[in-house]
């Protein structure tokens, strides 16, 4: 069959016409971050104010709510591609001026992005470093389409790959294409996706039934790439799932989304309904023999349900606890049937691979890590947000080019990559290519792509404690090493930050970590000690300082602060004593005061109240 004979062509033309009729499109981000910044109200007001507006290009204007643009800290975001305007931190009160700018073609200067290094104002989206240095593939449509309107999706060739696959390819050919692309699971493990598909395809089902499950249980703190795809480009995910279903022989699928992603759930539901209405999902898709239906299963938000067997248990209505593998889901998964389970980002890459070919995908990335990867860039960088770069991009490029460097001119100290299962990278890793294998070698992992940048003011022990607190409270409680071991690791870390630990505790900490890694039942437990082990490896001295010197080098651990009054500078004004909540400061008026260290709770109220800067903390 020739490409032009595809039935979708007709639909594409229809949809493109509808889009063109919208005139100048004003994209306002309606992702979760921008909604929190009031974007829904802005959209309503813009729609109202824009009814009879004629734009500089002599067209009508249409306000299009989009998914996440990724640059959430600058929300609410607005992009008008026709006019090359990007507005940041838009407020409801800015609407009249924005309308004016659309009419005149002169941008609202104060809403433009300011480069943190050059201080230059930039209007064009593609010239902002944050975007310019990215390479968006799985996120390519997020922010550029209306996720609640299937015409937007069809017009940009979504579902074309699906039709191409079901009309012109055999399931074996589809699996081979995915194999050849080198795509690996984006959820954390990095298992070759093609092999997973092959196993599921080859698996014998007792009833002939097989399932596709999309893992949308994004649980890493701070990571939101899957949410962005589901909110911003749901049809790409649905298309990827249908292709997967065709390849492995499944006609039914579940998307497992946590209930705290209500917007993603809403948009997925709308997308499924619209796709079924257009015969792009459901029975006999586009008149072929292939049928595929997708259900949504809302999860209760347990981190462990991101583990595939726990997720399957949860869909089945059981408590979300991992099951022993083997049997692997490919052989015995959901309701005992062979099940393909892939993460959102993985599946979102599938239509592009089928449309552009395996070699296109394989041309990006490194030898063993192909394609691009999204990262949730947070912490002490100038530009935070969701980014996508080719595999193998260096940490330096991510932090200093896209991220615009460390905030407030501070020094880079470390980056925690891969969330609570990942590890810590330091200055010496700045030129490390970010790919699966290099990161594993460095004691970290890509995980789902959380990337927290820390500066010199971050206490590394405190950071390790944060992640350990997360994994211990999110452990499912099934296996002993994870349930009891992480609890005790956390206890030791807590003692270290409070100056109550002994040097032997570091040995115990490492011994525990090794036992948990080797002995746990599932990936959550096996990776839980990673943040501790990698920080111990690279910042051992900082641990020792806490223990031996009872000192937190970054000055974060409040229990280890010592606050003293410089007798030479103190004028005896008594302000500190009056503001001390613990009654720890004594002294006669007009004479130097003193802090009773036994009573001091290290709150720092005296420091901020001293008019003579006589109080110091060490």
């Amino acid at each position: 069959m020739e490409p032009n004979e595809l039935k979708i062509r007709e639909k594409q033309a229809e949809s493109a016409e509808k889009i063109a009729a919208q005139g100048t499109r004003v994209f306002v981000c309606a992702g979760t971050g921008c909604v929190a910044n009031g974007s829904l109200e802005i959209i309503e007001k813009l729609k109202e104010a824009g009814i009879n507006v004629q734009t500089i290009q002599e067209k009508k204007m249409t306000v299009v709510p989009t998914g996440c643009h990724g640059f959430c800290e600058k929300g609410a975001l607005m992009v008008i591609p026709d006019l090359h305007f990007t507005y940041t931190k838009v407020k409801l009160s800015d609407v009249p001026e924005i309308i004016e700018s659309i009419k005149t073609g002169v941008p609202v200067d104060r809403l433009l992005y300011v480069d943190p290094i050059t201080n230059e104002k930039i209007a064009k989206n593609e010239e902002i470093n944050f975007y310019a240095k990215q390479h968006r593939t799985s996120l390519c449509n997020c922010g550029h389409i209306n996720p609640e309107d299937i015409d937007d999706a069809v017009a940009i060739r979504e579902y074309e790959a699906l039709e191409k696959v079901i009309r012109t390819m055999t399931p074996e050919e589809v699996v081979k294409e995915i194999m050849d692309s080198g795509l690996r699971g984006r959820g954390g493990g990095g298992f070759p996706t093609g092999r997973k598909w092959m196993f599921t395809q080859a698996a014998k089902s007792p009833t002939g039934k097989k399932y596709v499950v999309c893992n949308g249980d994004e649980g890493d703190p701070g990571a939101f790439m899957d949410r962005s795809v589901m909110e911003g480009d749901p049809h790409k995910l649905l298309e990827g799932m249908a292709i997967a279903g065709f390849a492995v022989g499944a006609d039914e699928a579940y998307i497992y989304v946590r209930a705290e992603y209500p917007l993603a759930i809403k948009r997925l539901r709308i997308a499924i309904a619209q796709a079924e209405e257009r015969n792009l999902l459901g029975k006999n898709i586009l008149g072929t023999d292939f049928s595929f239906s997708i259900h949504i299963k809302e999860g209760a938000g347990a981190f462990v349900c991101g583990e595939e067997t726990a997720l399957i248990a949860s869909i089945e209505g059981e408590r979300g606890m991992p099951r022993p593998k083997p049997p692997f889901p490919a052989n015995k998964g959901l309701f005992g049937m062979p099940t393909l389970i892939n993460n959102v980002e993985t599946l979102a890459n599938v239509p592009l691979i089928m449309l552009n070919g395996a070699s296109w995908f394989a041309s990006m990335g490194t030898e063993k890590s192909k394609g691009t990867k999204t990262f949730a860039l947070t912490g002490e960088v100038n530009n935070t947000g969701l980014i996508e770069v080719p595999m193998g991009t260096t940490l330096r490029e991510v932090i200093f080019d896209i991220g615009g460097g460390i905030r407030n001119g501070k020094k880079f100290k470390a980056a925690q990559i891969g969330g609570p299962s990942g590890g810590c990278l330091t200055e010496k890793h700045l030129d490390l290519p970010l790919d699966y294998d290099s990161l594993i070698q460095a004691g970290a992992m890509i995980g789902s792509g959380g990337l927290v940048v820390m500066n010199e003011d971050t206490c590394i022990v405190d950071t390790a404690k944060f992640f350990m607190n997360f994994t211990q409270s999110e452990s499912c409680g099934k296996c002993v090493p994870c349930r009891e071991g992480t609890k005790n690791m956390l206890k030791i870390l807590d003692n270290i930050t409070k100056g109550k630990a002994k040097m032997e505790d570091l040995d115990l900490l490492q011994e525990l970590a090794r036992s948990i890694q080797a002995g746990s039942l599932c990936g959550l437990g096996k990776t839980a000690p990673n943040p501790v082990l990698s920080t111990l490896k690279y910042f051992y001295d900082e641990y020792v300082a806490h223990i031996k010197e009872k000192r937190c080098p970054a000055g974060v651990c409040s229990a280890l602060r010592t606050i003293t009054i410089d007798a030479d500078k103190c004028k005896g004004c008594t302000k500190c004593a009056r503001n001390c909540p613990a009654g720890a400061i004594k002294g006669e008026i007009r004479k130097a005061h003193e802090i009773d260290q036994a009573k001091c709770i290290k709150c720092g109220a005296c420091i901020s109240n001293c008019p003579f800067k006589a109080i110091k903390e060490a």
Partner: protein, 585 residues
Amino acid sequence: MSDTVRKTLFVEGKEVEFTDEKNLLEVIRKAGFEVPTLCYRPELSTFGACRMCVVEIEGRGIQSSCTMPPEPNIRVHVNTEKVRRIRKMVLELLLSNHDMECATCVRSNDCELKDLANKYEVRDLRFSRKRTLAPIDDSSPSLVRDPNKCILCGACVRACNERQGLGILAFVNRGSRTVVTPALGMNLGDVDCVGCGQCAAVCPVGSITVKSDIESVRELIDDKSKTVVCEIAPAVRVAAGEEFGLKAGENVIGKLAAALRMIGFDKVYDTNFSADLTIMEEGTELIGRIKAGEKLPLFTSCCPAWVKYVETQHPDLVSHLSTARSPQAMFGSLVKDVAVNRDGIKREDYKIVSFMPCTAKKAECLREEFSVDGERDVDFVLTTQELIRLIKASGINLAALEPEELDLPFGMYTGAGTIFGASGGVAEAALRTVYEIVTGKALDNIDIEATRGLQGYKELKAHLAGTEVKVVIVNTLKEAEKMLQKVIDGTADFQVLEVMACPGGCIGGGGQPISCNDPAKKQMRANGLYKEDSELPLRKSHENPEVKAIYDSWLEKPGSHKAHSLLHTSYVNRFETCYKNQKSK
């Protein structure tokens, strides 16, 4: 099959053949190597939680052997430094979250955690043990749940789900706050727990235990103004010897008679007697129902866990239950009635203690309908486990005792009474009698093999003077539920349903010596019962001379008015209330 390739793997260098073992652990154990486990229970689903069974496989590192299928040619090491370190760490972690009140724990002698901690030289705990103690749940008449000892192995959760289909216990909360509890934090006594004790039977520690009534029984015995008699259930005699170095299945009824007399019981009787009586009543009832063609299929009513299950889960079906009381309850009402109304002993001065393999019997004896003027028919129930402790604490070595005869008349029994202790035994005993009553002919082959065996489901057809009767025999409530669904949807093609809630019947009861790591014991115990049956001179309930005598002298005939008032009962809808209003005296 001749073309099957011989599959082997290597354990510590020794080549070991394997076939269809469900996991590597079984292969390793079969080869004679020991691998410790806490959460693994051969008869329940594999859980993989405790991580004690980890082994090291060349090229694959650490794997839990219970979750790993055996694979050809792998080289397994069961006792490497790495493996030992993980096991010891697991033990240390578990103990740091355990109350460690070992000296006062009922499982002190057979605690799997204590045993392993000792073997792995866990001497000092490096982790802080500060924790607030959770309240102990002793609301159930059968069981005591102490959350402070729980190691979250999930064996009880699996047992309740997989054997009884009830799911009374489940995991709640995440991480280190995880606990096992009945729904909504309720107590066992306030939920639909049937008291079967299968949870306690698989608990590796003392977190779920049989509620002890030993001290109450001691008080009765010490009170010289009371006559205290006892009855011994069939399954007890083939298990009580296990803790005294005797083989499972060895019949120690004579030794028990001797021991219990030494302890101070005035008479030692046998529940087998009332089992024979049950056959007379239930058999008569069955014949009546078949003739009338009503309330069929007839459900047996010997098992109190099953009775409570029907009352709470399927109250609409209670009319199917035989109205005959269980052998324990019949024994209590009849023997006390004879003592009080024939022999003139004051009811409060005549006490009956029953020895049962069963924890649910403790709840049964508390039922209001099984007491007269507030005085229970059976005063206390001690399980086989408690019986063993009672004997040991009395300084008696059961194994060394000379067997003695039981007391008459209520110690007289036939082989039919004995086999009540195994799944299928009630059906077999009933058929022996019913056949002869209905046909008037002697049964050719008294051993009805189709009723025997530990499998969950058995069926057979009996021809009773032109009427074909299909008998279905199930054990575990999960199997029973399947049959109830057939009754509900009208597809039940059987006339008799024998149910025992415990796997294999009473021999696998929740009060029996703990044998969850040695499933073969159940078969050995069953064999012990069938052996006694085969050796007894009388093997049919209606031939029991003392049963005949008691009908002649006291009960008139099976199904008579008096027999009804003493030997039958009625059932109620306990859908909402369970045993809420019933309290222990």
